[in-house]
Symmetry: C2
Subunit: 513 residues, 2 copies
Amino acid sequence: MNASTPSRRSGGRAARVAARSAPLTEETRAVRPGMTGGQLKPLTEADVLRIHRAALKALEEIGISEAPPSGIKILTDAGAILGDDGRIRFPPALVEDMLAKANRSVTLCGREARHDLDLSGQRVHYGTAGAAVHLVDVQGDEYRECTLQDLHDAARITDTLDNIHFLQRPMVARDITDNREMDLNTIYACSAGTTKHIGTSFTEPAFVADALEMLYMIAGGEDAFRARPFMSNSNCFVVPPMKFATESCEVMEACIRGGMPVLLLSAGQAGATAPAALAGAIVQAVAECLAGLVYVNAIAPGHPAIFGTWPFVSDLRTGAMSGGSGEQALLTAGCAQMHAFYGLPGGAAAGIADSKRPDMQAGWEQMCSNVMGGLSGLNMVYEAAGMHASLLGFCHESLILGDDLVGQALRCVRGIEVTDETLSFDVMAQTCVGGPGHYLGSDQTLSRMQSDYIYPTLADRSSPKEWAENDKPDLIKAATARKEEILAKRSAARFDPALDAALRERFNIHLPQ
Amino acid sequence: MNASTPSRRSGGRAARVAARSAPLTEETRAVRPGMTGGQLKPLTEADVLRIHRAALKALEEIGISEAPPSGIKILTDAGAILGDDGRIRFPPALVEDMLAKANRSVTLCGREARHDLDLSGQRVHYGTAGAAVHLVDVQGDEYRECTLQDLHDAARITDTLDNIHFLQRPMVARDITDNREMDLNTIYACSAGTTKHIGTSFTEPAFVADALEMLYMIAGGEDAFRARPFMSNSNCFVVPPMKFATESCEVMEACIRGGMPVLLLSAGQAGATAPAALAGAIVQAVAECLAGLVYVNAIAPGHPAIFGTWPFVSDLRTGAMSGGSGEQALLTAGCAQMHAFYGLPGGAAAGIADSKRPDMQAGWEQMCSNVMGGLSGLNMVYEAAGMHASLLGFCHESLILGDDLVGQALRCVRGIEVTDETLSFDVMAQTCVGGPGHYLGSDQTLSRMQSDYIYPTLADRSSPKEWAENDKPDLIKAATARKEEILAKRSAARFDPALDAALRERFNIHLPQ
């Protein structure tokens, strides 16, 4: 406070509005990608250790079946034991050795470096994921088969949203029947829509070579891609319980050799393909991912891999999935603690709605697991936005609203800073003893209104009176309007014309130019 | 597993349906009132200590103004110091002495003992609260003034909801213009609607005698009420920052003498009536509640009181309240840690939506603070359901949906049990090695489907196909139908006719018989 800034002290609405209109630098925004979580610990330290030991025991005694011949060689060469029953068992010492070799400082690159994701520590990032087969059409209130264009639009929307940090392919292009063309067009549609990091899957090992060729072209050469791989392979290398997914393992081997980071994705479903007891579901996921970790590091020590324990929840009345449940939020948060225990970059699923629409149920379901995933320090919160009907439907409007939702979750992850300044003794004394008796115009309030508070884009905070005067704005209509605005603009991630022509020359690209 | 239970091993859907249809005892439900939280700690231990010390310093050096004459005597007799500036300052030793005398094992009684709330430790309970002036009419999509009947209906609905554990008066009866009659009719409307614990406020100290008379009549005499006070006084004893609310303090004194537990409610608003820095808002709320704690225990050592640090959040762009923000969830969770630090029964606000409707925004806003409040071990999560427009509107449909929402939050509070059995090694081994390769029919799945999983009442988990076949059920319409079903039945909490006649003889009861 000094004589040159009287207008700031005079405070009030005009000063706040002026302060707010000043542009924000990336550093002064209240939330950013990679804020550090870990304040939530559903498991005690003893629980974590017991889960670790149970996972080691499961790997040693139960083992994992159905490895491909290449995998059997890789794993037994490393010290795993192939049993007469075809199951590969992992001595605890082998697992511990490979844990020591694993990469703990993975950065997932964007095509633009400003979108790089540092997965060290308990830094939290939110993004899409999944393999929805429907687009949720909110205007028509119906589920329809999703298309390559829908996927490209999701990528373009994601590119514009501050709090959606990466795009893992959230839906499959149902309008492309040839799997090879689908996989290649998925890469194209995602990459042409966003320069954020992308994750995708490949249907068959034989498609990986073409995919790598496309990725190397986009990156400007193989070396450029290997230096900054902007795409990772989301790989369901196991079919729980405790079975390798033979073909996916072969895909994984090819991706590793091609320089792609791998998401080791174990997607059991508690009560169906994983134990119904939550602790057991975590044990199995950890065991499976540890097997994957051995596999990866036996091929290429230190290859970037994400520990993808994604246990899901069954509604045990029907056996159907329930991604929106409290049990799901607990599984995800518990897994994040296991990642932190190993010091490995990890990811799990959160933000899934069971609701078919972006309604109140969807809101509470998506927030519950998203905020708990973030608070537990999950590096990669997959499925964080747009996902409905327990992964069967993806919704563009919901993705856009998810930016607001995840923004609030990120604010919670950021936590409460306690410093001499934030403890606020001085401002309290100045305000209460002979001061104005309120904090509206104080320097602290002005300086913290941008740095400490996040403001929603579409969520409505008006009073009932203002709301009525504004014709009672509808959240979903506002999201649709925002979607149309985004998609009406030229994509900032679009390839330059020469590259685009080359890609279209080499591959059968289904998206119109 | 033995020969006498082959049908359970044969598993599958029929067995699950049969198991589900068996009635659940209170003990076997997946969630209950009073589950223990505390897994979320947004503040470090050092942070907690710094906040405590800053609060002591604020009480010692800034003090609190505007105590009523009776309060000045009570506090200065206890050792507080009245300054020339009219502020009462509290030596740290006085605060520490009163902390030692404070009641740490408060039970808030229901009119039926099965609804008693044990506030020891970090046991979590969810309920309504507030002073909304509007009812949110979802059919008409409008806000209208709320009435005594609306309040009574809220009580009746609350009485039927498993996960709404108490009824603090959520709205004011705008149709009663005389404040004394409003206060008395509020007691009647709430008590005649639910046998769960009730909280309410009184407009003037002069009304407390009549209120106590009514409460004693309902309880069956003064001794009966004092033995099991089913109503507590929600008391805004301070007008932040650091000012006593003179009349409310006099109300509090009368309530304490009449045998009512007191909620010491400090409702500052960060950036307006509390520091904008979150830590500072907590410091101020803690300081104010510590002053209240001294006040209560100076009158009646060990009188049941709830440490009601309720710092709210301003949207600093406008100064308006934002109860649905991430900052709010953090403030509430941080306060819960302070309550745990003192070992005192505590409460704070969560579950508030800024949204005007029970839409997706409302869902994410209500879940964010509700789940974080519970995970932080807040004894009393006030405002947990039904509250919209940053406390200005209450919605019966939203209250009903809140039962589902809070149920999921409670499931998260319950956490992940880690035992030899839940670690599930045996069931994994049996399933994977020569077993069925899935867990659908396992004994563990059957036994845990009710004890470990909570199923929503109205939230929809159907597949898109089932959803379309069911004519795409609308969440809000389902809630309205449930509301009408509840209100069509006779209230289980209704007074017996003789008591009702006596109450109507003595007081001007506005609710029809």
